[in-house]
Symmetry: C2
Subunit: 202 residues, 2 copies
DNA sequence: TATAGCATGTAATCGGTTACATGATTCA
DNA sequence: TGAATCATGTAACCGATTACATGCTATA
């Protein structure tokens, strides 16, 4: 699934400008889709060329015309087809985890700083997420699918955050204590199961 | 961080062929990094050109020579620098969640089939993960960083799986029951909090 | 005064995926 | 017999990121 399909999808909900679609991506698709202007604008142009969307230009004072896109019948059909054929992939690309994986090649302070940064980011995302549910323009009007997707993101985020917070002190101890050293750590029995799934309490 | 850096990273652990690095990606980096032959082989060639790795060719009967790569001192230095500079991004690209988000544009059976497929995949990944920890060539020799990264993947996977299993029947009911209909569902109070973080029990 | 928000777009680049090409062995 | 494993590589393509280009308004 590419940016074009995503644009068609959001346009089934209501008309949007490219700029607004970008905002959508940042707010609600954040957990599973990234798209910038550089991909959204060309995508919309192409959709227009193919007759899958129509545009209404709205003049503005001293700003580029606002271009409001609407999905067409052909667009809906193309979208439906696309969604039927799309295999449900799910891919993560995390420099964060790669960094953590290679933690022993880094200064312990750097590792801890990275972890701290991620914890902050996760926390902030969760806060924004909550705000989204309280004050969104369509609070109770979410479709079941939207609830599922958003709930998935929130669940996973919560459990990731809990894991990071729980592991942080242990990791710092392990890196400072053992780094290149070699004392058989006393709490081996404890450290042996850092892989236990989290309780993910809120 | 690109495939080149990842290759350098795994080569700090031991010497590998390109083929083996691919296996590593499938087994241990699965949760946070994807790389195919088409990116690994060119990456290794480039690293060699830059003097960051050396190669030892090993003849084989009726097979292409096996090329065993080793990281050089310059390679270690370049890697350390890279890891210091890499910002800890964390990106998800999920057609699965996009599909779910647009569930109301799809036949309910398709939605349920997709969910079922993902549940199976998650379950299988978890099983393979457990096997990895029991029978890996270096079971107790994981570095703290490796334990962290692998543990993260397992934690998140577990909570995602639990969420999907828990939501599946509710989602199916909601899609079949409400689709285009409009009866105010009786269990609204229940459905109102499907976003509660999971307990993620194993 | 400087940053963020609104609003659109293009062009160069870059990195990765996919498909192609080869080919023996082993297991089901 | 067919699929999977081992083993390497190239070339075309495609999609996305980045930087560039423009420029007003409102807020801090």
């Amino acid at each position: 699934m590419d940016v074009k399909t995503l644009c068609l999808g959001v346009l089934t909900e209501q008309d949007y400008t490219g700029y607004e679609i970008k905002r959508c991506c940042e707010e609600v698709f954040r957990h599973f889709f990234v798209a910038g202007f550089g991909s959204i604008y060309p995508a919309l142009a192409e959709l227009q060329r193919d007759g899958l969307v129509t545009v209404k230009s709205v003049e503005q004072k001293k700003r580029p015309d606002k271009k409001i896109y609407s999905i067409t019948a052909a667009g809906r059909q193309a979208l439906a087809q696309e969604l039927l054929e799309t295999p449900p992939r799910h891919k993560v690309r995390s420099e964060f985890l790669a960094l953590m994986y290679f933690a022993d090649l880094l200064p312990p302070e750097r590792v801890d700083a990275v972890l701290g940064e991620m914890i902050e980011r996760f926390e902030q995302t969760l806060v924004e997420e909550l705000a989204l549910f309280d004050s969104e323009d369509a609070p109770g009007e979410l479709t079941p699918g939207q609830r599922f997707a958003l709930g998935y993101g929130r669940t996973v985020l919560t459990s990731a955050l809990a894991y990071c917070k729980r592991q942080r002190p242990q990791l710092a101890r392990a890196l400072r204590g053992e780094s290149e050293g070699g004392e058989p750590e006393p709490e081996a029995a404890d450290d042996r199961r850092p892989l236990t799934p989290s309780l993910a309490g809120e």
